[in-house]
């Protein structure tokens, strides 16, 4: 982080009405302007890194709505995240962090094995039992929340079942590398399956390198920049060994992180090149709107689109998903209020900051329900988890789906 980026904040306050935590609290300490000021005061030596300042900084969701709103191009969310990384570098990782961020996350095999007991837990009916008996109430609240977020898991992670090369249907127009996000593979494999299907239908050969590692977003959440860099170097080399037109992902969080590899590894040319090739699935599909239009069949439904922060704020993608939805015949799209306001998921924020997350989520759910839509469409696994849980509890008739699932359904319907 450059000090001048802090100075660039002119304290105009334009970010305040867009910040989910300010909207809930009206507190300057919970606003982007306030957080930039805090970081600057710490750098200046007027304040210290202590329990209080960290409390204020960790309340930030890093949704980056402030970056969209800022007239001077200050990205308060990113500055806070980078500041936390720098602090972490001084102190080092704790035992648990080392275990999770360095030993588990970087290894898809271990991650998949770690999920195995969970799959058993669901399959054997133990989950139903636990939920009815309320046994989880006896465990730490974070565990209870994590359990609650878990939707039914697919039988096998997609990484295991997907071929390394999926050929193009018909004439081959190009080759894409598919970056399969961990959560997409482990939990939302249906959606990623749909993504690959759409790509190959449009004439792309899809290469999904089996040995790819996590994008590094969990490490960023854990303020472990070194961990992100290691993952980045690995993935850049792996994808670099193929001749690719684009690197595609259907996970907003991965996309945002992959596009930042260049920033994380300043001076590294191949990382910058890698980042330049990364596309969110909606960006690539929107390029083929005409072809898609001919292939899509009617879906008479009412849907509403939620702009995931990692897609709208971090990648500036708003128009493409809407354009894609508009292609589906008979699909009615009803815009919600503030579609680009965070749902409170924030990676692991909903577990780390349950109270604030719930307040932010409530606002989102109200906006969704006000549209009268029976489908909520988005394209980021964090939001899918968060909104699936919330809506299944309150209004089960509203289904939550990934954009590619909907498009793929229209392809066959």
């Amino acid at each position: 982080m450059e000090y001048v980026e802090l100075l660039n904040c002119m304290r105009c306050g334009m970010c305040l009405p867009h910040c989910p935590t300010y909207k809930e609290t009206f507190l300057e300490t919970a606003s982007p302007r306030g957080r930039v000021a805090l970081v600057r005061k710490i750098q200046d030596g007027d304040l210290e890194v202590n329990e209080r300042t960290l409390e204020f900084l960790t309340l930030c969701l890093d949704c980056q709505a402030c970056a969209t709103a800022c007239p001077c191009g200050v990205n308060a969310g990113e500055l806070v995240a980078e500041f936390k990384c720098e602090e972490k570098e001084k102190g080092g990782l704790s035992f648990m962090e080392e275990l999770i961020l360095r030993k588990l996350v970087p290894h898809p095999d271990r991650l998949e094995s770690a999920m195995l007991p969970l799959r058993l837990y669901q399959k054997t009916g133990l989950q139903r039992l636990v939920r009815t008996l309320g046994i989880l109430k006896m465990f730490p609240p974070a565990l209870e929340r994590m359990e609650g977020l878990l939707p039914p898991l697919p039988a096998r992670p997609l990484r295991k079942s997907l071929q390394e090369v999926t050929p193009a249907v018909g004439e081959e127009k190009g080759t894409v590398g598919f970056f399969l996000g961990c959560v997409m593979s482990l939990i939302f494999s249906e959606a990623s399956h749909a993504t690959v299907r759409l790509l190959s239908t449009l004439g792309y050969k899809v290469i999904t390198p089996k040995s790819q590692k996590c994008c590094g977003a969990p490490n960023m959440l854990g303020s472990d920049l070194e961990g992100v860099r290691r993952m980045a170097l690995f993935n850049v080399e792996l994808f670099g060994s193929h001749d690719l037109d684009f690197i595609v992902t259907d996970c907003g969080g991965c996309g945002a992180e992959l596009k930042k590899y260049g920033r994380h590894l300043p001076g590294d040319k191949s990382s910058a090149e890698f980042s330049a090739k990364v596309r969110d699935i909606s960006e690539l599909l929107a390029l083929h709107a005409d072809e898609l239009k001919e292939k899509l069949k009617p879906l008479p439904r009412k849907v509403t689109w939620h702009d995931a922060c990692h897609i709208a704020h971090c990648q500036g993608i708003r128009q493409q998903p809407r354009a894609l939805l508009a292609l589906i015949p008979q699909l009615e799209v009803s815009e919600m209020n503030d579609p680009d306001t965070c749902c409170g998921s924030g990676g692991t924020y909903n577990i780390a900051q349950p109270e604030m997350s719930d307040r932010i989520l409530k606002r989102k759910v109200d906006s969704i329900l006000a549209t009268g839509a029976d489908y909520l469409v988005t394209a980021n696994p964090g939001c899918l988890l968060q909104l699936k849980k919330a809506l299944s509890e309150t209004t089960p008739k509203v289904k939550v789906v990934h954009l590619t699932e909907l498009l793929s359904e229209s392809l066959v319907a």
Partner: protein, 457 residues
């Protein structure tokens, strides 16, 4: 601050709405004004007018200064507690209490965000015209306290033209009602108008009643390029002299145009010296006629390009250049000093010329944009607070610009208020008599001088 006093404050607002830790107070030391900062001793976020009154009475009784704060977006240091004490933030009082469709009024709490009111009334075909650039975050209380203007000021006037009634809590906690929904009211001094633009030094508004007007039926947006700045400035006066009153008549100078083009790529040619954004609204027939008249005047003043928006989307696109003016300038350098010297409309051309010459004399980058139709310009100095020498020159330049504005029959501030930032210049404008009367008024409201002390004079 004494523990027992803090405890009493806590008794009024509750623990959650009282901040006293050093880390929280540190970020309540600023507003949007550059170079000014001073942390308060406590911050309170009351939840009702009654709580505000009790807080104020308690502070006044204990001799503790109190500074009201809305969203902290003012540009004169008005919400900075330079004498310490308590900052009282009104954000939680954010209810729109009533929209009276028979009398065409809205009554709001002070923490209501300006654009929230816009949306609510426009949904039922009504209109609250004041639209400061900060309307998505500024509070109605802050707007009244600063008498905020906006882009629609030329035709529709400023906040003061819409405030009909106020409930104001006086410094010692007593409630003062002034004005109301009656259109006419000449009972005694016009306290409502006196309280508007009092910058939180006379009382704290707990309820505000504003006038609404019917939403204009149609509007037309135009963007005009001028190869000569002087001609653009003369166009402004000529349009008004032709008895056409556009809702919006905004100006961008060459420095601003360059920055806008660099940042937003809206297609402004770089050899253009000035751009006017003009919007007319009202009855469709009248709008057509005004737009045609404006076109003739612009052409007479040798405009090089005249574009009329055909659709609302196109109108938005044309307005982009003006909308991003400040952002584009602010990106250039870390520190942005935005002023609001204002002159009679007929003096726009010489004033713009004077600003350019002054920038050159002091070797500064100053971009000017603003509400040309109101004579309200925003010369904006792009600098770096770490460069003390340049900051010193910037202050010298602005001092000359203010003097010039006064000389032309204008003012040192058209909408941002005096606060702390313009204090040194006020005596030049209002003189001894002006200051004496203002001090007398302040003493009448606040004999102990505890409400927002150190501001204006």
């Amino acid at each position: 601050m004494e523990a027992s006093f803090i405890k009493e404050l806590q008794g009024i607002v509750g623990k959650e709405h009282l901040l006293t830790d050093r880390e929280s107070l540190a970020v309540y030391g600023y507003d949007a004004t550059p170079e000014l900062e001073s942390a308060p001793g406590a911050v309170l976020l009351p939840g009702s007018g009654e709580e505000m009154a009790r807080i104020m009475a308690l502070c006044y009784g204990n001799g503790v200064p109190l500074t009201p704060r809305g969203s902290g977006t003012n540009l004169s240091g008005g919400s900075i507690a330079i004498s310490g004490g308590v900052v009282m933030q009104t954000s939680r009082l954010n209810r729109i209490l009533e929209i009276d469709q028979e009398n065409l009024t809205a009554t709001v709490e002070p923490g209501v965000i300006t654009s929230t009111l816009h949306k609510r009334v426009e949904a039922i075909g009504l209109f609250y015209p004041p639209d400061p650039g900060s309307m998505n975050i500024s509070t109605m209380g802050g707007n009244v306290a600063e008498n905020a203007g906006g882009l629609r000021g030329l035709k529709y006037g400023v906040t003061a033209d819409y405030v009909m009634g106020l409930k104001t809590i006086l410094p010692h906690g007593e409630l003062l009602r002034s004005g109301g929904k009656a259109v006419k009211d000449v009972a005694g001094y016009n306290l409502t108008q006196l309280l508007i633009s009092s910058e939180g030094t006379l009382g704290v508004f707990s309820e505000i009643t504003v006038k609404l007007v019917p939403k204009p039926r149609s509007k037309k947006t135009m963007l005009v390029h001028f190869p000569e700045m002087e001609q653009a400035a003369l166009t402004v006066s000529a349009i008004i002299a032709a008895r056409i009153i556009p809702a919006t008549l905004e100006f961008l100078d060459k420095v601003t145009i360059r920055c806008v083009e660099d940042y937003a790529h809206v297609g402004l040619p770089l050899d253009v010296d000035a751009v006017l954004l003009i919007e007319v609204d009202g009855h469709p027939a009248e709008v057509e006629e005004d737009a045609a008249g404006i076109r003739v005047i612009c052409e007479k003043h040798r405009c090089s390009f005249f574009q009329t928006a055909a659709t609302p989307e196109e109108a938005l696109k044309l307005a982009t250049a003006r909308r991003v003016a400040l952002s584009s300038l602010a990106r250039l350098k870390p520190t942005t000093i935005l002023e609001d010297a204002t002159v009679p409309r007929s003096c726009i051309a010489p004033m713009l010329k004077f600003i350019q010459e002054t920038a050159k004399k002091y070797d500064l980058t100053i971009g000017t944009f603003g509400h040309a139709g109101d004579g309200n310009l925003h010369p904006t100095c792009l600098t770096d607070e770490r460069d003390h020498e340049e900051i010193r020159r910037a202050h010298l330049a602005f001092s000359e610009i203010f003097d010039k504005a006064i000389q032309m029959g204008g003012t040192i501030t058209g909408e941002h208020g005096v606060g702390i930032a313009k204090k040194p210049y006020l005596p030049r404008l209002v003189g001894e008599a002006g200051l004496r009367v203002m001090r007398g008024i302040k003493g009448g409201f606040d004999p102990k001088g505890l409400l927002n002390p150190g501001k204006i004079f």
